[in-house]
Amino acid sequence: MSVRVVFASHSSRVGMALCALVLVALATAPFWGGRDDLLLLSQIYAYVALASLWNLLAGYAGLVSVGQQAYVGLGGYLLFALSIFAGISPLWAIPLAGIIAAGVAVPVAMLVFRLRGHYFAIGTWIVAEVFRLLASQVSLLGGGSGTSLPASIFIAIAPTRQLRDFTIYWIALALVVAVLGFIVLLLRSRYGLALKAIRDSELAAICNGVDVKRTKFMVYIVTAFGTAMVGALIFLQKLRISPDAAFSVNDWTAFVIFITVIGGIGRIEGPIVGTIVFFVLRQTLADLGTLYLLMLGAVAIVVMLAAPKGIWGLIVERFGWQVFPLERRVVLDDRGAARE
């Protein structure tokens, strides 16, 4: 009697087919969409990527950080510094910013990992504040008021404006696909099994031989790497950076947390669903200004209290769907019977 582990299910086959269709539609967006559509889609990709990374950190590894804006801002500033001072093409500066940020994350992790639970959360926030204050001391990059990316650097990406728009759009799409693809592969690997064990019960994970501390450390570094790349791309698109915008707790952490909680924390589909909800709300209610933020906060609280697994959690409970083939099922070959 042989035993196999199967990931795919009926719904995930449908889900992956749908994903492929959507991906083709999005990849061809430059040919059917206008400039504004591309910009909006790029913003959506950035938030899906940021929220997915935060979900990996908080939803799976249990590291609730409210300081990921540290790496968004660091990525942005590294992109500006590398392209202005070192003459590196902004496109190469994106992965390089990720690598440097991952290096910076190592000593940061050693420091903030001394704090547990809620204290870890605020510790990460202080680190982000330190980064913000240090950035405003760098007078070569405009100090507190920030700086713009020189036109010559930007023009070097591609000869025409249209081609530049397309290039950056495709990079944004590639980045979000890479982030999601990486998380799916990670969760399917043995590290993913460890992460799911940590998510469900840290104590039980330790008892089963999971090196919880090391796993968490690795996840923190990897998310810093990804978050900084997304940050670099965001500010390549904005063409302007300032400490307050780069290290904004509202833009890069509050929104990201609300997106993940509303969509469904601890599930890979959650951040995607949450981002769609977030942008629909934003397109319809953004005129309300501060009231919009107020409502977003209230919705997040209600979701946390009434349905802590978010929208996708409710869907999973009701229908048992999964878009990505992640759920492990053991199949006994000789009888052909499947068991959970």
Partner: protein, 288 residues
């Protein structure tokens, strides 16, 4: 003489930070959680004081008679009806709900009061100074604030270790299940702890509003100062929290003296150094 003045200023401001921290420390001591909206509640208290002084025509210090009970009431209701529902083994719900609360308070205040800076006027006491020796003067208001801070810490210490309420706090913190078997209602005890915490927040908020300009967005920075004071001082020790506040105040004052841009950064660095060298804080007293 400059250095003496700088350090003295830092110590006096540190009293305010200790008050930010005391409310935070109390909540951590009883419920083992951090209230991310703590700083925004301090700012909320400042705005309540503003409304009270304007409508009743009384001074900021007199407004404490209204603001302190009001904030305590808000704290009780908040814990009883919202935050108690988040308690459990999972640390995410309380964190996210207080984070959401922080965003709501901030944007609610922005809607009601706009982003303009405000300040409470305390009259003559604001400019009164006491001369210690030649070249070293202490402002009467910072001194009062410092004395109040010590009184608040002493009062909390007394409540925690000398009263039936404090016994209930400590029992619930040690073992909620057993405390409940002994006839304590945890939901009520937690709500009382939050009420006491917000009473301290109210005092801190009023002094913050008299000392400097405030606007709806400064809450998170107050939370961070309070938090740094708690960690520097050591978890679970109220007098340690006072020491932590003073150290933070002095670090910021020295930073500001060297370069105005370094004030806040110097405080953060002091915190990070303590975290790196002595993560349990300087005067720890935690039973975990």
């Amino acid at each position: 003489m400059d250095w003496i003045n700088v350090i003295l200023q830092g110590v006096l401001v540190g009293g305010l930070y200790a008050m930010f921290a005391a409310g935070l420390s109390l909540i951590f001591g009883v419920m083992r959680l951090v209230n991310i909206a703590h700083g925004d509640l301090i700012v909320l208290a400042a705005y309540l004081a503003l409304v009270v002084t304007e409508t009743l025509g009384i001074g900021p210090l007199a407004s404490l008679i209204v603001v302190v009970p009001l904030m305590a009431l808000i704290g009780y209701a908040l814990q009883r009806f919202v935050l108690n529902r988040t308690l459990g083994d999972d640390l995410l719900p309380p964190l996210l709900v207080t984070f959401g609360l922080s965003v709501i308070i901030q944007n609610g205040l922005l809607t009601l009061f706009t982003a303009d800076s405000r300040k409470l006027q305390a009259g003559d006491i604001e400019v009164a100074t006491i001369r210690l020796v030649d070249g070293v003067n202490i402002g009467a208001l910072p001194l009062l604030q410092f004395v109040v801070a010590i009184a608040v810490i002493a009062a909390l210490q007394f409540v925690f270790y000398r009263t039936a309420l404090g016994r209930a706090f400590r029992a619930t913190a040690d073992d909620p299940a057993v405390a409940q078997l002994m006839g304590l209602d945890n939901r009520h005890v937690f709500a009382l702890a939050k009420a006491l915490s917000l009473a301290v927040v109210a005092i801190a908020g009023v002094f913050l509003a008299v000392r400097a300009n405030f606007d709806p967005t400064i809450g998170p920075a107050r939370l961070i100062f309070g938090f740094e004071a708690v960690i520097i001082g050591g978890l679970g020790s109220l007098w340690g929290t006072l020491a932590g506040g003073l150290i933070l105040g002095v670090a910021q004052a020295i930073g500001a003296y060297l370069d105005p841009g370094w004030q806040i950064l110097a405080g953060h660095l002091a915190f990070l150094v303590v975290l790196a060298v002595r993560p349990e804080g300087l005067f720890p007293k935690v039973r975990t």
